[in-house]
């Protein structure tokens, strides 16, 4: 145990953390009602995937994993901008933020 605390950290620990965060993101996405919280769970999933990319970039000692992670961040930023604009429009038209009440196209 003391060797574990002073020696190198096994790579699987980072992947396990990433899996746990991804699982929590999926749980939030399925169980939450507020559309903004659902969106934030999606961002949590993207962050977990970023951690996986960078872990594998360390394993292969190649900087490509960080480049992919960079592109994931850029795409997440663009998606957040457009997604929040859509949420604003939906709120303006339906006056609600609960996804259960936005279940039909007809108002």
């Amino acid at each position: 145990m003391s060797n574990l605390l002073t020696g190198p950290v096994p790579l699987s620990w980072y992947l396990i953390l990433s899996a746990i965060l991804f699982g929590l993101g999926v749980a939030g996405f399925i169980f939450r009602r507020n559309v903004i919280t659902v969106f934030m769970s999606i961002e949590l999933m993207l962050n977990a995937v970023n951690l996986t990319f960078i872990t594998f970039s360390y394993q292969f000692k190649h900087v490509d994993g960080q480049i992919y992670s960079f592109f994931v961040m850029v795409v997440a930023a663009a998606e957040a901008a457009v997604g929040l604009a859509i949420i604003l429009t939906v709120f303006k038209n339906r006056a609600t933020l609960m996804i259960d009440e936005v279940s039909s196209m007809k108002y």
Binding site: V9, P10, L15, L24, I67, T89
Partner: protein
């Protein structure tokens, strides 16, 4: 030392992740997500991704999450009032099953990953020089395409959020 820092910040990340799923007020969820991003930035630093750690804090935690926080404040989103209609037994069983599922995945990952060397801080450094070189030579096409993507997102967000005159 590396393991201690990993355990502390992984614990903070998991705690903030659980807090994101459990909290009722959207602002508390947003702050939990910022906590996750911050602790993940520290883990990226450990894994040698120093430029990505800085980009995570500047872009993700410092700009994208500000956008989320603005939207929540503008829409005046309050705490959720509708409850999840399920019996208490089902809720507890759900938490136990989720924990079991995550434990199973952890075991599978740890058993099937080939035994490579562990992570030592300083063994690999993704300096901004390397990242920039790679970004502008091997990955030039995706880089230019993402610039067009950001332009599309910019125009789309402005058009959608504009006032109808």
């Amino acid at each position: 030392m590396t393991a201690l820092i990993f355990l502390i910040f992984a614990g903070i990340a998991v705690f903030c992740g659980i807090s994101l799923v459990v909290q009722t007020h959207p602002i508390a969820c947003a702050l939990s997500l910022i906590g996750v991003m911050g602790s993940l930035a520290v883990l990226y630093l450990q894994l040698g991704g120093e430029f990505i750690a800085a980009a995570q804090v500047i872009v993700y935690a410092g700009a994208v999450m500000v956008l989320f926080v603005f939207t929540i404040m503008l829409l005046n989103a309050g705490a959720e009032t509708t409850t999840f209609h399920a019996s208490r037994f089902v809720k507890y069983l759900g938490v136990v099953l989720l924990a079991a599922f995550l434990g199973l995945i952890s075991f599978i990952i740890q058993a099937t990953l080939p035994k490579t060397e562990g992570v030592v801080f300083g063994n690999f450094q993704g300096t901004p020089v390397d990242v920039g070189h790679s970004l502008f030579t091997s990955y030039l096409l995706p880089f230019e395409v993402t610039s067009v993507l950001i332009l599309i997102a910019l125009v789309g967000a402005i058009v959608l959020a504009r006032k109808e005159i």
